[in-house]
Structure formats: C-alpha cells, structure tokens
Symmetry: C2
Subunit: 431 residues, 2 copies
C-alpha cells in the first residue's frame, strides 16, 4: 500500500478533563475519585488531513502528560509518516528520551498518543477504519511494524510470521462475521464501588437485558461488602453467567489469595489486577494460590517486555491489552502476537475516555489477522463519555458494532475539546 | 528527633543541561551522545532553609522531567516536612497521579527529586550529613519510612526491624571506620566506548595508581572491539584485578549469553545491564546461562517491586541502586533492606551529574545501619561535573571520603545553575 507524499506541518496538544469524580463513576478500590482525562494531540498535514490521538489519565498530572506529548513535536513535524514501523522505532529508541523510561510511564504514553494519532491519520488517508487497514496488510508488513528487541526469547520474527500466515485463509470470513455480528462485549458499569446495592441490582439486570456476555465487579475495599455485592450480582445474573472481579492492584500476594478465596463460592470468571502491575512473580504466585480461578491483568502493564514475562511465567489466563498505555498500535501488535504464541485470549481493557473507541479496532484486527479466534474473548465496555467522539462506539445485542468510518475512532468533537480544556474550559471555570 | 516547626513557602525548578556529548564522555552502546542533565528543584522554608534535589536525565526530555517536578508543588507548599515517611507515601499513593506510573518513569523520578530535596532540607536543619542523620534514627523510625505495599511476600516490617536491630551494635564502630577510611570506590572512567585504546590503557593505569578497587568497561557495540579492549585492560590491570563489563541493556537473552561467553577468558567481575531493566526472567535466564559470572543491574530499575523480583528470582548477584530514579531516600531504604534480606551486596550506580554526591550517603547508611558490611561492596565513581556542587565528593586512595557537611550533598553552585539552564544559559546560547 502507498499513498501520495505529504508532510506533517502542525501538531497541537490539549489538556482535556472530564469532572467524573462529581458522580463517583469510575470509583474503585485504588481510584476513589477519578476525573477522566485525555492528554490530546492533533497532527495536521499539508494536504488537509488530521490524525487524533490521546493518552488517558485520571486527572492530576494530565498537564505533565500533555507536555510530554508536546516534547515529541520535533520528531513529527516535516515528516511523511507513511512508514509507521520506522517512526515508532525511532521514537521508542531515541537515545536521550529513553532514559526517561525506557518504554514506561509518562514518556511512553506520550509516544503512544502520537503513534496512535499517526495511525488515525494513516487510516483516514486510506479511507478505512483502522481495523480494516491493519487487516489488509501482509504478514510481512505487519511483522515490520514490531520492535522485537527483548522479545526473542519468547517470540521471533519468524514465529510471528507463522502466526500471521496461519490466520490468512480465514481473514475475509472473519471480516464478514464482524460486520454481521460485531465483537462480544462485557460491561463494568454495574460494578463500581461507589454504587449502592439497589443500583448494582438494577444495573446487573440492565446488563443482562442488553445482551452483554459478562459483567465485572470492583472489589478490594471491604471484604464483607464484596461478599454481599457479589452475592447480589449472582442472584440477579444466575449461577452460570460470567462475573469477573477487579481489585485494581489493591493487594499483596498473601492478601490477594486470602481475599479471593473468600469469594470462591461465587465462582469469579477472573480476578483482575490482584496486585502491582509490575509484579510478574507476584501474579504467578497468586495464580497458583487461587487456581483454578483465572488471573487477568494488563491495563497498567507498561510494555511488551512485562507482558512477555507474565506469559512466560504462566501468571495470567487473560491478557488485558490497553490501547493507550504501551507504545501505541505497533507495540500492541507485538502484544497480540505474544498472546497468540502463548495461546492466551486477549480481553482488552476499556472505559475511561475514548479507550473503547480505540481498542475495538485492535481486538477486531486480532480476530481477523492474528489469533483468528473469538473463543473466551470479550472487550470491556463502559458507558461513559462516548458522546464526545465523532465516531462513538455502538453496542448492539451486547456486541461492539464493527466501525466503518475511516480512522481510529479517536477524534473528539471540537466543542467537547473546547468545553473540557483544563482549567479554562466552561465545565471547569466555575469550580 | 524533632525540629522547630516551619513551613515550606517556595519551590522552584530549573532545566539544567551539560553539553557532555561534545566530548564523548559517557558514551556507551545505548547512549552514544548523552548531555548529562538535571531536572533540578529548590525547596525553601519560612525560616531560611533550602533543600535541593534533582532527577538525572541525559538531555532531551529534561523539560518534561522538570515540568513533572513542578506538578508536585501543591503537595509541598505550606507543609512542615518533618515526617518524610508520611509525605513520601502521600506522593506515591496519590490516587490520580499514580495512574501515570504507578511508581515508574517521569512522575516517579519527579517524586524522587522532591523527596530527596526534602531529605537534603531535613539533614541541613539537623546540621548533619544525610548518612549520619539516617544512621542515628532508631530501627522503628527507619521502618516507618518504608512503604511495604507489594513487598510482604519477600520482606515484612518485622523482618526489616530484625535486620536493622542486628546492625545496631556495630553502628558506632562503622561510623568511625567510614570517617577514618571512607567507602571503597570503583571507576568507570577508563571504559567509555568513545575512547581509543591508548586512552583506555592510560586511564586503566591511572585507576590503579589512584587506588580504585575495580574498573568497568562498556561493551556491547562490537564484539571484536570488546575482546581487544578487555584484553588491553587485563594487560594493564593484571589477572586478578576486578574488571566489570556493562552492556547498558544492549542484548536479548540469547545474545547476552553468547556475547558474555566470548569474553569469559577475561573473567568479568560482573556483567551489568545485559538486557532490558524490566526483564526479571530474562536476567534470571542470563544468570543461569553465564554462571558463574555474576549479573548486576539497577540503574534503570524503576522501583522496589522489580528489585524484589530480581532478588526472588536469583537474577542478580550485585544490586546497583540509583539515588535518583526510584522514589528517593525512602524507597532506597526499602531496596537496601530487601538486598540485606537476600544477602546480595549493593554496589550503587553513580556518575552522570550529582549521582556520586547523592548515593555515597545511601551506601554509608547501609554499612552503618542496614547490611553492616563492606564485603563485595564498591560505589561507582566517574570523574565528571563534580565541580558544580557545593559539597563535591572527595576520593582518597580509591575511597569515597565520608561527607561531613550538613545535607545530602545535592546542592549545585548558583553560578553553575545559571550557566547551564537550557536553553538560555551561556553554555547553550551559542549552539
């Protein structure tokens, strides 16, 4: 694939924050009062295209995240960003910038925002939704997008190529299936810690009625509350409906095993983020300690190297890829390939602001071109803030409808940006 | 210990960069052209004291690092920072800021700079060098400084207390020994990749003459060069002198094992940073693959949780604590305690700008109050940029002389700050 030559001529950033803490949406054991935020970037070309991207944060520090994105401006201005394998590798391997990580935290999330914006731009230039653009690339082109450094003890370029070639014969059938049925979703909306039991019961019922395949409850603040809330959800959903639990990194290893064991009778579908996202060995110890209850993690996993180890150690049964924390589309392709190699289903993290919009493209690309499977796979769905996007996610019968608009679904309405700029936007001005 | 009440009334930050890339000082396989930089913070009290601290970077991105430190201003202004256990835990556990890590990268290094500046302030208020201030705290007071979250599967507060109590009887003898003899040092000055063989030979000879206990060679760019340079260093230093090698994260697991095996005949004292600092399992595999050659790492290890795993996995034989990457003095105390628990010697990373000045305090505190041992321990020394500090390190007979001035030796001369501010300072203005 090629496109006409062009140049990037402008890059602007915006510190955008939504006052979600006013409603206790998004409250969990570690994040009692998040203000969902986007460190937002718009990249413009000399022939009139725009790419949009963002890093997701939960409030304070979004100014730092925005400044970090701004620091990448010299790397993109004047460029033709057709070869996103080369540009991604240049950004993550810059010899001075990598000291700030390497490949983790604020600077890596900044690279993610820029890389994702460049993919949004590229998909718009080709007039395709991103999942289709990626799914039409050859296995060799896809392998070229990946930085295999530090992966070769678990996944070589040749092995990646074999995985991708194996999925080729079913690509078109899987595209047709996604267009017809969409991609299965689960919802976290019932399970926030800030909601009372009546609201939990009502939202569980709604989730079933809406056709979601699974729900998730936040846990970890108070065990007696968790037992009561899990029992309530089981009563509404029945004994066989998948109900996952999510501790948001609340526990040490021993307390994770003890707490989850106390919830065993309610058969958790998985236990998410039981401990620090950095603790590979801790996750492995917890997985052994609560077996056969599966462990899931990923939304705070910093890069492909930590995912590699979680897979090598047998620490996770579900991999929860996040669209905006690791180094953007390119690193997420590496992570999808690692998961496929180890036979672990990817059930992406979403929610926040815009994460559902982005990650659906990666999950659909995975089904078409990488794992080739929907078995055990669901995308998280949270019904927050979609109204601010130009191409918002659509859920039908508990499935994500396959996006058809060109791009990465990352673009916010200009009036939403203007209203939520921090601290000058109208929603913040009276605080 | 207590001090008169006071308040923090001012916090200023400076983006300071030294044009070290012009001389190829500090060149290695991953960092070909660093400009050693400090994202620098000065905290002032209403009774006239100042605390200085900084995050070390190698150039680009130092503006982002400086902005991240600035974002912490609301957390310190108006505070009495006598209880640095509480303030440290408040900073690292802020529910919104931790999304940007947690506890890694730019935001964690910003917390490190502020926490270290507050320790500099506290030590000045008490009129003691930091290593003495820490060494005079009771075991219980020291334990209170540590955040044990995510550590309890490897180290409990009770175990930490036992370690500290065991070192109590020898505290005063060890203070006396440090005052008399200093703390053993090794030098990296001969080994930068950018130096030719004649310079290598001359600097090896100088290192021996100056009484250093060990030298270190950068490796990993070209194997034939490394063989020749290692042979040259061996010729000058003799068969038994400790010569470590440092790959600065250059390799994957298999290539690390192959490369180091090709250097086996020169008996490396340790192999430093063979691969990604995030790859606990990779380090463990390399350690098995090159045994009995020891593996060392730490300067890029993001926090105590990764160090915990490196120790649990038997991946490292030397732990290279860095003074300014993890969450400051408090988290480094946790790391010293972990190393003592696992019986692994701490040989701190230093160099850059100001890292020697800071880390000597932590190593001396370790000898007096934690491990109680000098066995197998050396602090890295690099002869760069000390002239910019008010209380620069002093090396005598290849030992760090114990600091006697109050504080954390973190303070730069005002004229050094002014000259090196980026991009307005005089050393940058003509570029």
């Amino acid at each position: 694939m090629t496109a006409a030559p062009y140049r990037i001529v402008e890059m602007e950033t915006h510190d955008i924050r939504f006052p979600t803490s006013r409603e206790l949406d998004g409250s969990d054991a570690m994040n009692p009062d998040p203000d969902y935020s986007a460190a937002y970037v718009v990249i413009k070309t000399d022939d009139g295209f725009e790419g949009h991207g963002f890093a997701f944060t939960i409030g304070r520090g979004n100014d730092v995240q925005t400044a970090a994105i701004g620091a990448l401006k010299p790397y993109v201005i004047g460029r033709d960003a057709e070869d996103l394998g080369a540009l991604y590798k240049e950004l993550v391997n810059d010899s001075q910038l990598r000291w700030l990580g390497p490949e983790k935290g604020v600077m890596h999330m900044a690279i993610s925002a820029v890389v994702n914006a460049l993919w949004d731009l590229k998909a718009k230039r080709y007039g395709k939704p991103l999942w289709r653009l990626l799914s039409e690339m050859s296995p060799e082109e896809i392998v070229d997008l990946v930085d295999f450094r530090y992966l070769s003890d678990a996944l070589t370029p040749d092995e990646a190529l074999q995985i991708l070639k194996k999925a080729e014969p079913t690509r078109s059938a899987h595209v047709a299936k996604l267009r017809a049925d969409g991609y299965p979703a689960y919802t976290t909306s019932p399970g926030w810690l800030g909601y009372d039991d009546e609201k939990l019961r009502r939202l569980c019922k709604e989730a079933l009625d809406q056709g979601f395949k699974q729900i998730k409850l936040k846990v970890g603040a108070d065990l007696e509350d968790d037992i009561r809330r899990f029992r309530t959800a089981r009563e509404v959903c029945g004994p066989d409906f998948p109900i996952a639990i999510d501790a948001n990194q609340r526990w040490d290893v021993d307390s994770a095993i003890a707490w989850v064991s106390a919830l065993r009778e309610f058969t958790p579908h998985w236990v998410e983020e039981p401990t620090s996202p950095d603790d590979v060995l801790g996750h492995a110890a917890i997985a052994r300690g609560i077996s056969p209850i599966p462990v899931a993690t990923g939304e705070h996993v910093q890069n492909r190297i930590v995912f590699k180890q979680l897979l090598q150690a047998g620490a996770i049964s579900y991999l929860q890829l996040d669209s905006a924390r690791v180094g953007g589309v390119n690193e997420n392709i590496a992570i999808l390939l690692l998961a496929a190699k180890f036979g672990v289903p990817v059930c992406p993290h979403a929610g926040g602001v815009g994460l559902c919009e982005l990650v659906q493209h990666l999950a659909m690309f995975d089904y078409v071109a990488v794992s080739g499977s929907l078995e055990g796979r669901v995308i998280e769905y949270v019904d927050h803030l979609h109204e601010h996007f130009a191409d918002p996610v659509v859920i039908e019968n508990g499935n994500y409808v396959a996006p058809s608009m060109p791009g990465f679904s990352a673009e916010m309405h200009p009036e939403s940006i203007a209203a939520h700029v921090y601290p000058g936007g109208e929603v913040w001005r009276d605080q």
